[in-house]
């Protein structure tokens, strides 16, 4: 009772405060200042502070050539994988939305697996499935069907970026009004012609976004890539290796190039993508009608499901086997009792969650006002659009390069505790996810509702908490979950920043890369714990949200 009254008094005071334009300006300005000072500037300025290291590196031809190859590999892999993802993802998304049978919901659920499993677990799973005797290679009695290297990296990146494409396109297809397709069918177009010439062009912005997200994700991935890379180096792996070898010059060079080039490419695709013309003018009525028939549709569905099963679902779930063996060989007892390597594992897991929860709270506090600024265009149409574009910067830059830059930036502030730096770095990395989710959610609540609330006597904060917040609570949940899971899953930037502290995924990568010291069942069980705790935390957030209703 007293607690409720106290809460009422506090909320009432905040409502009154929000009625002052100056207070609102201060809150929005603080959000902007935080964005510029903590999210935008550090990733760019950090490497600039170390430009002095570039001279020696650039004079070393072998280092330059190594860096060039690694950077080129990063972009080629990201481009090819994103393209393959689109080709494979469109039919799967179509299958999930348009076919009505018992398989659709199964595929729909399974498509999210690579989302849920931490990437380091995904890397390990794919390594065993494609490359080690315990997987497909053993079944085919081949030493290694796909050896660690560029091929395995592509298989890994395909698997984890595939659900991004499918999820985004499923959402778009569900929201797409089929009346356009129906109209073109009544005008004589076959289903395939209608889909190719009407639906896909209308979904072009979503296709470009999906491609961009998959591209950025592939460019950024470090931890799982390290697991499957073997001796091969792409940009993030080179940075990781250079850091391990104490070569700061190549680290700074590759980070700087990746930061600049990824921003430029992101901007170019964002600008030019929507202008891309899909081949819609030419129609092959007979050929396309044949391809629209029941047999052809069945074959198409079969192929897309086979690709999904073989390249995404099965390899992603394969990690279950070594985890299960941990229950048979007694590893589970050591793990629970915290003996041997497990002591450091539990510490790392705890650190992961401390960092993840802190980053989530930071985002809730500083990301919310920013989401309002963007969704309600508080800075005017043009400046808001510009700020909105800038918010994408952290996800555009490969996380390991971001980590290198942020590490240098925060090191310039003297003796900041490493844990604080990690929290700041994870906040930067996850900021885009939270602000994007929240701004989209706030934008979906008609401004009219708030306006009417205001004319009925509600103060700005009062209308926001009584109208907008309840209508966006599931997005808050999604945003918080995204931030927490992304943070707990983060490897690249953490590797680049942390000297003493090891988070769970970083520790697991070390374990996987030392197969002589750590058995598959130990690694499998460690991964299982990481996955289980992720599920428990999701559940906890959901319950907390339900209680606060």
């Amino acid at each position: 009772m007293i607690k409720d009254r106290l809460l009422d008094v506090i909320l009432s005071a905040l409502d009154d405060l929000s009625a002052h334009p100056l207070v609102r300006r201060v809150v929005y300005s603080a959000a902007l200042v935080f964005f510029v000072a903590v999210v935008l500037i550090p990733p760019i300025v950090g490497v600039v502070l170390k430009y002095g290291l570039l001279g020696d590196t650039l004079r070393d031809a072998s280092l330059v050539s190594r860096a060039q190859s690694a950077i080129a590999a990063s972009f080629i892999i990201a481009f090819v994988v994103s393209l393959l993802d689109l080709v494979a993802g469109i039919p799967t998304a179509w299958f999930i939305v348009r076919r009505k049978n018992r398989w659709t919901s199964i595929v729909d659920t399974l498509a999210d697996i690579p989302f849920v499993i931490p990437t380091v677990a995904l890397g390990f799973s794919i390594l065993i499935f494609w490359s080690q005797p315990g997987g497909l290679s053993g079944l085919l009695r081949i030493e290694s069907l796909v050896s660690p290297g560029v091929g395995l990296i592509m298989l890994l990146h395909f698997a984890f970026s595939y659900p991004i494409i499918v999820r985004l396109l499923v959402g778009e297809l569900q929201g797409y009004d089929q009346v356009f397709e129906t109209a073109s069918r009544t005008l004589g177009a076959s289903p395939l012609t209608a889909a190719r010439t009407v639906t896909l062009p209308m979904l072009k912005p979503a296709l470009v976004s999906a491609f961009l997200l998959a591209f950025c994700r592939s460019l950024s991935e470090t931890g799982a890539t390290a697991v499957v890379a073997g001796a091969f180096e792409n940009g993030p792996i080179l940075i990781r290796n250079a850091r391990a070898q104490g070569q700061e010059g190549p680290m700074v060079l590759v980070s700087a190039v990746l930061i600049v080039s990824s921003c430029v490419i992101f901007a170019m695709i964002s600008l030019l993508g929507p202008r891309l013309r899909l081949p819609t003018k030419k129609v092959w009525p007979h050929f396309e009608r044949n391809l629209s028939g029941p047999k052809a549709s069945l074959s198409r569905d079969g192929i897309s499901l086979a690709v999904f099963g073989l390249f995404v679902a099965l390899p992603s779930l394969f990690v279950v086997l070594p985890a299960a063996s941990a229950f048979a060989d007694g590893t589970i007892i050591s793990a629970i009792s915290g003996r041997g390597v497990w002591g450091s594992f539990w510490t790392s897991l705890a650190i992961s969650y401390v960092v993840g929860i802190s980053a989530t709270l930071m985002n809730l506090v500083v990301g919310f006002p920013m989401a309002v600024v963007i969704a309600r265009r508080k800075l005017g149409k043009n400046i808001t659009a510009f700020v909105d574009a800038l918010v994408s910067v952290p996800i555009t830059i490969p996380s390991v390069a971001l980590g290198v830059s942020l590490g240098y930036f925060w090191a310039a502030f003297g003796n900041l505790p490493e844990l604080w730096v990690l929290v700041l770095v994870h906040t930067t990395i996850t900021y885009t996810y939270f602000v994007r989710t929240m701004s989209a959610a706030i934008e979906s609540v008609p401004n009219e509702l708030e306006e009417v609330g205001r004319t009925l006597g509600g103060r700005p904060f009062e209308t926001f908490r009584k109208i907008v917040l309840p209508l966006t609570k599931y997005s808050i949940f999604s945003g918080a979950v995204m931030v927490l899971t992304r943070s707990v899953d983060e490897t690249g930037a953490t590797t680049a920043v942390a000297k003493e502290i090891k988070t769970a995924p970083v520790l697991l990568v070390d374990w996987i890369r030392s197969p002589d010291k750590y058995s598959q069942s130990t690694v499998g069980l460690g991964i299982l714990f990481l996955v289980l705790t992720a599920f428990v935390s999701l559940l906890a957030i959901r319950l907390a949200l339900r209680r606060s209703r």
């Binding site: 009625a19 008609p446 009219e448 306006e451 009417v452 609330g453 004319t455 009925l456 006597g457 209508l471």
Partner: protein, 368 residues
């Protein structure tokens, strides 16, 4: 009951001038309709009064109090958009109680008041329903109850009937006005439906491209439009361009193209002056060919439209000018045929005369 005064209001959005030099006075308890085509600035005007948009210049004065600097929640206005903006996550009761609670009334008093308002709009039995469970008409009444419960004295209605189907719209027009009147509120009702404005308004304000064209009672606006735009926008009108031929003490003769002559009561124009004559279609009748009377203009039927309560006969005059006559359904003898020769006739006192616009008639009456 507050009165409202808008003085020299101007508002631009970039290069688009939404309102310019708007001066208005709305009396206490008045029900005023703002009528105008799309993009004329109706909604902007309403939002400025509500405090949702800040005007570039000019003053908003409510009950003698300058409210320019006041935020929406302190203006004592209630804004009802076309969508009603009922809060979808709240029950009907909580929606209606939102205003009183926001104005810091004790909970019991706020809910008691909400119930009273729901009773008034006959929706108390649905107090625990969610807005999506109600029909469009019920939602409209909830929105109205919510506005009334907030204690606002100035009601700002933005196309409040626009989202309803035609039949319901007709029924709710009367309910809306009687509820507002019985609650003793002042209301500004924005609409682009002239019929709706004619029926509910005490006074109508005609807006065009951000300018007030005319303010007056529906009767006055309909029969005495101040310019060609208002004449065309309100009601269905015939326009005839001609030149003043003779002027005497009781009226004038205007010569149309081809030598046709029309008698008017207007005497203020000079010989030789170019004018546009305006006569309402329902004041124009169709007579048999050869009808010999003042202002009987002969021609042949070019189109016939059945309107339910009347027949609109479009006649191409012998000089090529078009003219439409309305025949009430009760007065249709034999159904006219396309190509049939007829005479269109109207009384001199029913003709309004306007100076011919410099930029041409088409440009002057263009709605969009």
């Amino acid at each position: 009951m507050p009165d409202l005064r808008l003085s020299d209001i101007a508002k631009s959005f970039g290069r688009i001038e939404a309102l310019d030099d708007v001066d208005l006075e709305i009396g206490s308890g008045e029900y005023v309709c703002v009528l105008g085509p799309t993009g004329s600035g109706k909604t902007t005007l309403l939002r400025i009064v509500a405090g949702l948009v800040r005007q570039d210049q000019g003053d908003v004065i409510v009950d003698g109090r300058l409210v320019n600097e006041l935020p929406p929640e302190e203006r004592d206005t209630a804004y009802l958009p076309q969508s009603y903006a009922l809060f979808p996550h709240m029950t009907v009761l909580n929606n209606v109680a939102f205003g009183p609670l926001a104005r810091r009334m004790p909970q019991e008093v706020a809910y008691e008041r909400a119930h009273r308002m729901l009773e008034m709009v006959k929706l108390d039995p649905r107090a625990n329903a969610l807005p999506r469970e109600l029909s469009g008409g019920m939602q409209q009444r909830v929105a109205l109850a919510r506005a009334l419960a907030s204690g606002a004295k100035l009601l700002l209605l933005d196309e409040p009937l626009g989202a309803l189907d035609a039949r319901l719209r007709v029924d709710l027009r009367y309910q809306l006005k009687s509820l507002v009147k019985s609650a003793g509120l002042t209301a500004i009702h924005v609409t682009h439906d002239q019929r709706e404005a004619m029926i509910v308004a005490d006074r109508i304000i005609i807006l065009r491209a951000g300018h007030v064209e005319q303010v007056g009672t529906p009767y006055h606006i309909y029969l005495r439009p101040v310019n060609l735009f208002v004449a065309n926008f309100v009601g269905e009108t015939n326009f005839l361009e001609g030149t003043v031929k003779t002027v005497d003490s009781s009226g004038a003769f205007v010569e149309l193209r081809g030598g046709l002559q029309v008698r008017v009561r207007e005497t203020s124009y000079l010989f030789g002056e170019r004018v546009v004559l305006m006569v309402r279609q329902e004041l124009t009748s169709a007579k048999t060919y050869g009808w010999d009377a003042v202002n009987a203009l002969h021609g042949e039927v070019s189109a016939i439209r059945f309107l339910g309560d009347s027949l609109r006969v479009e006649i191409r005059l012998v000089n090529g000018m078009p003219l439409s006559a309305r025949i009430p359904i009760s007065q249709i003898g034999t159904y006219p045929k396309i190509g049939e020769e007829l005479a269109a006739a109207f009384r001199p006192s029913d003709v309004a005369v306007f100076p011919a616009p410099v930029r041409g008639l088409e440009a002057e009456i263009r709605v969009v």
